[in-house]
Amino acid sequence: MRWATRAGVHIDRAACAWLIRRFIDPDAAFVFVDDPAAVPTEATPFDMRGVELGHQGGDCSFETILRRYDLTDPVLWQLAEIVHEADLEDERFDAPEARGLDVVLRGLSMTLPDEEILNLTGPLFDGLYEYHRRATLLGRPPA
């Protein structure tokens, strides 16, 4: 399936792409567009203005996708708090990782094209997921 999002990937789009590939569509292919009108007809748009899988009622797109696809895994909701804070900075959640992650992603967006950022951040989110999975099981930081 094809998925489309805005070019100039940052935290929310990188996290959404990882989420889509890992939990919704393993064969996902991503298209980056500069204008909402440029989304190919067969592609599902996300994290763009005025689309279903965008910011909704104070949620970031990552949270919207979790809701839309009924993903109830508590570890994913833990990651959602980090993504939300890194993206919206509204202090709805206490997610101290968010600031560092935001800086890393902003830096990458200055040095790499979007496809490469997704290739790089995939394993990064795998690691974040595993860390929080173990933390959830243990009830404390796993390392």
Binding site: H10, R49, H55, E89, D90
Partner: protein, 163 residues
């Protein structure tokens, strides 16, 4: 005293033009808080501006969506000030607002002597400093003074913990 833009040509700005119904007031207040948090310059009634970059543009676009969701109208524009003077005035307005916020942080840090726990205060003020820095596009000298006051407070706190 203020880090004015010194380049010869004015830079690009992103503008949000919006109108929200007077009632209900909750979305109005939510939008106003968000804009305040972003450190926008007020150009007029329902017209705000930020220096354009990937982050500021994105944030204003999401605010625009929020306005539309709440039954209002909004549009986002990329604009160039017609003169450097105009841009300097805007930068001055924004730097003055940040300067007051930094001064408040420095004052709180300096008055920390009678606080029961300066560690908690230090954490709070550092978080506030980070928030102000995030919306500080034309750093005033007060930023350095606030930084120094926080460093002093950190030194005192370490000494306190050691004794």
């Amino acid at each position: 005293m203020i880090g004015y833009p010194t380049t010869s040509a004015p830079g690009q700005w992103v503008l949000l033009c919006y109108r929200l119904p007077r009632e209900p007031s909750t979305p109005r207040i939510a939008v106003w808080r968000k804009l305040k948090r972003l450190g926008v310059a007020q150009l007029g009634d329902g017209l705000v501006a930020l220096p354009a970059d990937a982050r500021t543009r994105e944030h204003l676009e999401w605010v625009a969506d929020e306005v539309t969701e709440a039954g209002g109208t909004a549009s986002v524009w990329l604009a160039l000030p017609a003169s450097r003077r105009q841009e300097r005035d805007l930068a001055h307005q924004m730097a003055t607002a940040r300067a007051a916020e930094y001064a408040a942080i420095a004052a709180h840090a300096a008055a920390a002597d009678d606080a029961p726990s300066s560690l908690g205060l230090l954490r709070r003020l550092r978080a506030e400093f980070a928030r102000v820095t995030r919306r500080d596009f034309f750093p005033p000298t007060e930023r350095g003074a606030a930084r120094a006051a926080l460093d002093d407070l950190a030194t005192e706190t370490r000494a306190e913990v050691a004794t």
